[in-house]
């Protein structure tokens, strides 16, 4: 691999990050090569490690950073940040079996969490629909029995209200959970790669 190949791979790895972020990284490493001098090109590349790995770290960092910057992080961005951190784990120079194990665990946990969130959302939706049905059945019997109708509509409204409250809670909790998972995992990854640098 020579210098231009290194930069080609780095740039390819960074296609998904913002232009500003990508240019900053490319400028930094370009300058680094210039300052090291052409005669040290191979040495610098050995020390820098794989451009794919550098790109993965930058991507994960910028996704987590973006998440922290937002006052109301969306669930989708949270999940995609977790995913980028998982990719960075794969690119990290830790022993491969360990990396696969860690990534497998992370993917498993993420899948389980997404499952739980979906289950909660569906339950809340069912609750909501149940409330609507009870209200309508109350309206339907209003001609035959006014007390029964009022009772049904009341119960229906109560259920509707509770389901809306639960829905808000579920969405807020899911946002928070995915955001903090991405942050926590990125922190672990930072520690891990620094630890590996030491062991080399």
């Amino acid at each position: 691999m020579n210098r231009s190949e290194f930069f080609k791979r780095l740039e390819q790895g960074l296609t998904k990050v913002s232009k500003e972020e990508r240019d900053a990284a490319l400028d930094y490493y370009n300058e680094y090569f210039d300052d090291a001098g052409a005669e040290n090109e191979q040495k610098v590349m050995e020390e820098l490690g794989s451009p794919v790995q550098i790109a993965a770290r930058i991507k994960a960092d910028s996704a987590v950073k973006r998440l922290e910057g937002e006052t109301k992080p969306s669930m989708k961005k949270g999940i995609s940040a977790v995913w980028l951190v998982i990719l960075a784990i794969f690119a990290a120079p830790i022993a491969l079996p360990l990396a696969i194990g860690a990534a497998g665990l992370a993917i498993g946990l993420l899948a389980a969490l997404i499952g739980v969130v979906i289950a909660l959302v569906v339950s809340v939706a069912a609750f909501f629909i149940g409330g609507v049905v009870v209200i309508f059945s109350g309206i339907a019997v209003i001609a035959t029995s006014v007390p029964v109708a009022i009772f049904s509509i009341g119960v229906g409204l109560l259920v509707l209200g509770i389901s809306l409250l639960l829905g808000i809670l579920v969405v807020l909790a899911a946002r928070g959970i995915f955001g903090s998972i991405a942050k926590g995992m990125n922190k672990q990854l930072n520690k891990k790669s620094k630890g590996d640098d030491r062991n080399e």
């Binding site: 990284a25 930094y28 300058e31 680094y32 820098l48 790995q53 550098i54 950073k65 640098d197």
Partner: protein, 106 residues
């Protein structure tokens, strides 16, 4: 070195180097490598993060027909660094007590 440099200590070291003068990426990395065993690729995310948190700024200066990006510590960065210094002195004396036994070997 047998001790791992955590991300807080890395931040503190970068701010320490910059508090004695502006410098550019290559020199900064070499200076850090004299003290710690971090690799080049670890330093870029640290610099980027410190910059986004407002602890350092950058400016470009022409050098041999190209631009060199210099890193400079900000007022916030200086404050942060002073905090790190205080924390470090406290931490160091506690570890000294434990590892080297007593305070009589100062």
């Amino acid at each position: 070195m047998g001790f791992q440099v955590g991300s807080t200590l890395l931040d503190a070291c970068v701010l320490a180097v910059l508090s004695s003068g502006d410098t550019y990426g290559y020199v900064l990395t070499q200076t850090m490598r004299d003290v710690t065993d971090i690799s080049e690729s670890t330093l870029y995310p640290v610099l980027r993060r410190l910059q986004k948190d407002g602890y350092l700024t950058t400016y470009d200066q022409p050098f041999q027909g190209r631009n060199r990006r210099y890193y400079a510590i900000t007022e916030d960065g200086k404050k942060k660094f002073e905090g790190y210094q205080r924390d470090w002195i406290r931490y160091k004396s506690q570890v000294d007590k434990l590892l080297c036994g007593g305070d009589d070997n100062e």
